[in-house]
């Protein structure tokens, strides 16, 4: 995917999540793009590793920095205890107008993933994205809910078993729905 296409995709993802009431901090964007890549097969080449907050891409972090350098995103602080939101600038909006056509293939997926993830907090996103990482990277667990739950609590000991199970269930459901619609 070419640079402007990537920018357009990330900006659209942020805009849609904000429109649907998301906090849209870095973790929200990281996880939304991860779902876009792994569930909806968007052609994004960011590499993800299992990091402090679940699957995380340093390349995407660098890209977000570059997009701030290009004045496409602003950081906005809403509440004291929480990290900043990524908000497209007016220039980001103009950029999207010009490049909307370049990501038309992914618009429906962006909309769907925003619908699902926008009301989720960081903890839920971490659980769901970690479950997805396990499903994609540890083939032995397959679609086995118990096995995925166990692995989520292994990698993320701060997530309790009930929450891990809910995350795994939800993630399996998202994958199943996406497979039907694709």
């Amino acid at each position: 995917m070419e640079r402007n296409q990537r920018y357009a995709l990330i900006l659209t993802q942020a805009r849609e999540m904000l429109n649907k009431g998301s906090w849209c901090g870095e973790t929200h964007l990281q996880k939304a793009v991860y779902f876009l890549k792994e569930v909806f097969r968007a052609p994004i080449d960011f590499e993800y590793i299992l990091y402090k907050y679940g699957p995380f891409s340093f390349e995407l972090r660098d890209e977000l920095t570059e997009m701030r350098a290009c004045s496409l995103f602003d950081l906005m602080v809403k509440e004291a205890g929480y990290g900043p939101s990524y908000v497209p600038t007016p220039k980001g909006g103009e950029f999207l107008e010009k490049h909307q056509g370049t990501i038309s293939d992914n618009l429906q997926s962006i909309d769907e993933i925003s619908e699902i993830l926008s009301d989720k907090g960081v903890k839920e996103l971490e659980g769901m994205a970690t479950a997805l990482w396990i499903i994609r990277n540890e083939k032995a667990v397959g679609q086995d809910l118990d096995a995925i739950t166990k692995k989520v609590t292994k990698y993320k000991p701060q997530i309790n078993a009930d929450d891990a199970r809910k995350s795994a269930e939800l993630t399996l459901q998202i994958i199943s729905d996406a497979n039907k619609s694709m």
Partner: protein, 429 residues
């Protein structure tokens, strides 16, 4: 009597102290090689004082890493919440082991650097390699036997992992604790690698921008859990906020004035051109046995040889550096042009390449860096908030980014006149 500690004088930290077994690491070939790798590459061609080497920086990083480790692991300061997620902070024996791991990881964190600390690793190393991967290999293989002689013995892979960090050791899983330890060295906001290089580079370059009160800053560092992400990370007590602001401002100014200086950038490019033409198959070797001879001295010798050789290509490429006949900047990306076309500098480079000869034009693009200005701050009542809420400065700090187009000095005037006539048309593309 045998000395228990060895003391080395340092212009930033006064004395850096090492134990006997640590001295063996310092005396090893991979660390000694760093005496011959300039910390700032060819920057001394424009800032004559910038002749310091990776060696003393590595010692400085080790010294600071120990200080930060002692501050952030002080068990008295730890809340139950922190003790729950990081039980390591309550185990004194384990802490002493980890302190040793962090010191050695800090000392070795740069041992895979290419000559002149060159950043064009994608061009000068085989695919999939960078200096961090070489660092990882040298620590875990080349120095493998040294770690076994420590009491207790250190695991080579642990030292390597902490030195390189999760961003570069993507094939490895990091526990929360290991991530925190690695953050002490490589962290975006308060990593001691950055603290030392800003202080050291500003001293040697002779600019005051890089200075900040690192003593105060380090004393206020703390492992904190913020409400937003619920995971432990290194933040600061509110009393250290001005120190943190000063660090991030120093970083911004140093990047804009020194690291991304237009002449420094073109010398890097000229060195890359020379190395691509001179190295066997245009690449450095990745194994330490072959890489070790490639120090700055070795390369400088080759540059001098080729300055006087009759081999036309290498002679010309060496001449640009040795005789300081660097290409001249004819275009720098600016906000007005970027507004018109966010590929402005690339288009201008392309246009100049087709109007003149491709070999007479060079392009440098360094994407935005220094983005992480959000970190947790602990208020006096124990509440943890984001730095952006507390600071009037951090949110306004621009991201550093540069894009330059240069041409051969022989066509500088011609290229500038041509560009002044055609620039607007090029940007319309």
């Amino acid at each position: 009597m045998k000395k228990l500690y060895h003391e080395i004088r340092d212009p930033i930290h006064m004395f850096v102290r090492l134990k006997d077994d640590e001295r063996k690491v310092l005396d090893s070939e991979p660390i000694q090689r760093l005496r011959y790798i300039h910390q700032l590459g060819l920057t001394y061609l424009l800032y004559p004082g910038a002749t310091h080497k990776r060696f003393e920086h590595s010692l400085g990083v080790m010294e600071l890493a120990s200080r930060v480790f002692d501050v952030v692991t002080n068990p008295v300061e730890k809340t139950d919440e922190i003790k729950d997620v990081l039980p390591e902070v309550t185990d004194r024996v384990a802490l002493s082991y980890w302190r040793q791991v962090v010191r050695m990881a800090a000392l070795c964190h740069d041992i895979g650097h290419l000559p002149f600390s060159h950043s064009a690793e994608e061009q000068l190393l085989p695919e999939g390699w960078d200096h961090e991967r070489i660092t990882f290999d040298v620590i875990s293989k080349e120095l493998g036997s040294i770690w076994g002689k420590f009491i207790p013995p250190l695991k080579p892979e642990l030292v390597a992992k902490i030195a390189v960090g999760p961003k570069k050791a993507k094939h490895l899983e990091f526990t929360l604790w290991e991530t925190i330890l690695s953050e002490i060295i490589t962290g975006d906001a308060f990593g001691v690698d950055r603290i030392d290089y800003l202080l050291r580079d500003s001293l040697h370059v002779g600019v005051a921008y890089g200075k900040f009160d690192h003593y105060r800053l380090i004393d206020t560092l703390k492992i904190l859990i913020s409400r937003s992400d619920n995971e432990p990370t290194i933040g600061i007590e509110s009393g250290g906020l001005h120190g943190a602001e000063a660090l991030l401002l120093a970083r911004y100014f140093m990047f804009m004035q020194v690291y991304y200086h237009r002449i420094r950038c073109i010398y890097d490019k000229h060195l890359e051109d020379f190395l691509k033409a001179w190295l066997p198959k245009g690449k450095f070797p990745t194994g330490f046995k072959k890489l070790k001879k490639y120090t700055d001295n070795f390369i400088l010798n080759a540059l001098t040889d080729h300055k006087y050789s009759k081999e036309p290509i290498l002679n010309e490429l060496a001449d640009r550096i040795v005789n300081r006949r660097h290409f001249k900047m004819v275009y720098e990306l600016n906000p007005v042009d970027f507004e018109k076309n966010n590929y402005a500098s690339q288009l201008i480079n392309k246009a100049l390449c087709s109007e003149f000869d491709k070999g007479m034009v060079r392009y440098v693009r360094i994407p935005g860096k220094g983005g992480d200005v959000s970190f947790p701050v602990e208020e006096s009542d124990g509440q943890v908030v984001t730095s952006l809420k507390k600071s009037q400065v951090l949110g306004k700090l621009p991201v550093t980014k540069v894009e330059f187009v240069y041409v051969h000095p022989d066509i500088e005037d011609k290229a500038k006149s041509w560009l002044s006539v055609n620039r607007e048309d090029i940007l319309k593309a």
